[in-house]
C-alpha cells in the first residue's frame, strides 16, 4: 500500500522536477521591483557563459530567508536597511557590498486627472483628499516618502490624508483605480503604469538617497561565480540595460 502511494507521488512529481540544468546556477535573491531589468541582464550574462537563477520577493522577505540560512549566493536589496539586516547577521562577504542602482521618488496621479506640479507644495492642496504611500512602518518606499515630506515640512499637513499600503505597487494601484488622488512611489513604477501619470519627480538633490545595494552572501559555495556576476552587474553592458528600465546606476 505504502509503496504504491510513494510510486504515485513520484510519478506525479517527477515531471515537475525536469528541466533542471546539470550545472548548478548561482541563486540571486533580488528585490521584486527589479524582476524585468535583472531578467534582461541575466540574458546578456548567459552569453558570457554564466547561469543564474533568481528568487524575486520583497527585500525584507529575502533578508529573512538569508538570515534563516536559505541558500542564496547574491543578495540585491531595494534598500540599505534590509542589507544591514543581513550584514548584522554576519552574512555579507567582506568587501563585497556595493551600491548598484539609484531610484527617485515621484508623485503619481490618475491619468484622467493629469497634473504637473511646479513644486511639491501642491500636494497639500485640498484636491488631494487621499494620498497613498507604502506603509512607513515597513515598506521602504513609504519610509522614503515620509522622510521626503518631513524634510519639505509637509508631513503634518498631509498626514491625516495619508493612506498607508502594504507595498509600493498597492499605492500605485490605489491611484490607478481612482481610490487615491495621488501616490508617492518610485519613478520606475510610474513608468510602466497604464492609468497613472507623473505629476512630480523628486529632484535627486532634494529627495532621500535611494540606493539598491548588492552583496555576496558569505555562506556561498560558489564565491568566484557570484563575484563574476556582481562584476557583470557593474559593467557598461548591464548599465545600459538598467537604464533602459528607468534605473540610474550608482557605480
Amino acid at each position: 500500500m505504502l509503496h504504491r502511494w510513494l510510486a504515485l507521488c513520484v510519478a506525479v512529481l517527477l515531471p515537475a522536477a525536469q528541466g533542471v540544468p546539470l550545472v548548478k546556477p548561482i541563486t540571486v535573491s533580488a528585490a521584486v521591483s527589479l524582476t524585468d531589468a535583472l531578467t534582461a541582464v541575466a540574458e546578456a550574462y548567459a552569453k558570457t557563459g554564466g547561469t543564474v537563477r533568481f528568487n524575486f520577493a520583497a527585500s525584507n522577505v529575502l533578508a529573512r530567508q538569508i538570515v534563516s540560512g536559505a541558500p542564496a549566493d547574491v543578495f540585491i536589496s531595494a534598500d540599505e536597511a534590509q542589507m544591514d539586516v543581513v550584514a548584522a547577521a554576519g552574512l555579507v562577504q567582506d568587501g563585497s557590498r556595493v551600491a548598484l542602482l539609484r531610484n527617485q521618488l515621484a508623485v503619481a496621479v490618475p491619468n484622467d486627472r493629469p497634473r504637473t506640479f511646479h513644486s511639491i507644495r501642491e500636494i497639500a492642496e485640498p484636491a488631494f483628499k487621499r494620498i497613498a504611500i507604502g506603509d512607513p512602518a515597513a515598506v521602504p518606499a513609504g519610509v522614503y516618502a515620509k522622510q521626503y515630506l518631513e524634510k519639505e515640512g509637509l508631513w503634518t499637513a498631509v498626514e491625516p490624508r495619508i493612506v498607508p499600503t502594504g507595498s509600493v505597487r498597492a499605492a500605485l494601484a490605489a491611484v490607478e483605480s481612482g481610490a487615491a488622488d495621488a501616490a508617492i512611489v518610485y519613478r520606475t513604477d510610474v513608468r510602466v503604469a497604464l492609468k497613472a501619470t507623473v505629476a512630480w519627480i523628486v529632484p535627486a538633490d532634494r529627495g532621500p538617497r535611494i540606493v539598491y545595494p548588492a552583496a555576496i552572501v558569505k555562506t556561498t559555495a560558489s564565491a568566484s561565480e557570484a563575484n563574476r556576476f556582481v562584476n557583470f552587474l557593474r559593467s557598461g553592458e548591464a548599465a545600459r540595460i538598467f537604464q533602459r528600465f528607468g534605473f540610474a546606476t550608482a557605480f
Partner: protein, 221 residues
C-alpha cells in the same frame, strides 16, 4: 523572458496533486483516529493539525524555513543526505501539504463520524482487527467525505502563497506557482499577465470546489 502560462499552471497542478497524495494516507488515518479513538493527547493533536488554518501562512513558512534550511535541525540532517528542500519544488509541495492537511482531516473526520458505529462494533465482535474494520467498513462508507476533503486540500494548495514564497521562493522556472507568479506580475505592474493567471487559477479552483461540494452533498443525502 515570460514563462508560459501552461508551464506555471502545470507545475502548480502537479505540486498541488503531489501534496494531496502525500497527506492522504496519514491524513485519513488521523481523521479516523480522531473520530473513533480516545487516546492521550487527542485534543492536542487535533489542535496542532488545525493550526495552519488560523496561523498567518507567512509564519508557517518561516517555521518551515528555519527547520529546513542548512542551519535548522532537519535541514542539517537532510544536507548530510544530500537532499535540498529550501528553494526547490519539494519546498512547494511541503508548504502546500501542510496548509491543506487541516482541511482534509476535518472533512474526512466528519465523514467517519457519520458512519454508523454499530457496523464497526459488529465487525469487532466477529473478530476483525482494527485495520480490517478501517479498510473494509469505515473507509468505504466515509469515502465521499474523504474525497471531498482531498479536493478541498488540493484547492487550498493551488492558491497557497504565504508559506510558499518564504520557504520555496519565487524562482522562475523552478518554484513559481500560479499564486506566486500573480504576486510577481502584480508587483512589477504587469497587470494583464496577472489577470490571465488569476483567471486560470480561479477556473481550476472553481471546478475543484464545485466537485467537493457535490461530493459532500451526496454523502449527507
Amino acid at each position: 523572458m515570460i514563462e508560459p502560462v501552461w508551464r506555471i499552471t502545470w507545475f502548480t497542478i502537479a505540486c498541488a496533486a503531489g501534496a494531496t497524495l502525500l497527506i492522504l494516507p496519514p491524513g485519513v488515518v488521523l481523521a479516523w483516529l480522531l473520530a473513533r479513538r480516545k487516546f492521550p493527547g487527542r485534543g492536542l493533536v487535533e489542535t496542532f493539525v488545525s493550526l495552519p488554518l488560523v496561523m498567518p501562512p507567512v509564519a508557517t513558512g518561516l517555521i518551515l524555513l528555519m527547520l529546513l534550511s542548512r542551519r535548522g535541525r532537519v535541514g542539517a540532517l537532510l544536507e548530510r543526505l544530500g537532499i535540498e528542500v529550501v528553494f526547490t519544488w519539494k519546498a512547494v509541495v511541503l508548504a502546500m501539504a501542510i496548509m491543506g492537511l487541516p482541511l482534509l482531516v476535518r472533512t474526512a473526520r466528519a465523514g467517519f463520524e457519520q458512519v454508523n458505529v454499530r457496523y464497526e462494533r459488529v465487525a469487532a465482535t466477529l473478530g476483525a482487527p482494527p485495520a480490517r474494520i478501517f479498510l473494509t467498513i469505515s473507509l468505504p462508507l466515509a469515502w465521499p467525505s474523504v474525497l471531498a476533503g482531498a479536493v478541498l486540500a488540493f484547492a487550498r494548495a493551488l492558491g497557497e502563497f504565504g508559506a510558499t514564497i518564504i520557504v520555496a521562493g519565487n524562482i522562475p522556472g523552478a518554484t513559481r506557482t500560479l499564486a506566486v507568479a500573480i504576486y510577481g506580475y502584480a508587483e512589477t505592474g504587469q497587470d494583464s499577465q496577472a489577470f490571465a493567471l488569476l483567471l486560470v487559477s480561479v477556473s481550476i479552483a472553481f471546478v475543484a470546489l464545485w466537485t467537493a461540494n457535490r461530493l459532500v452533498e451526496r454523502s449527507t443525502a
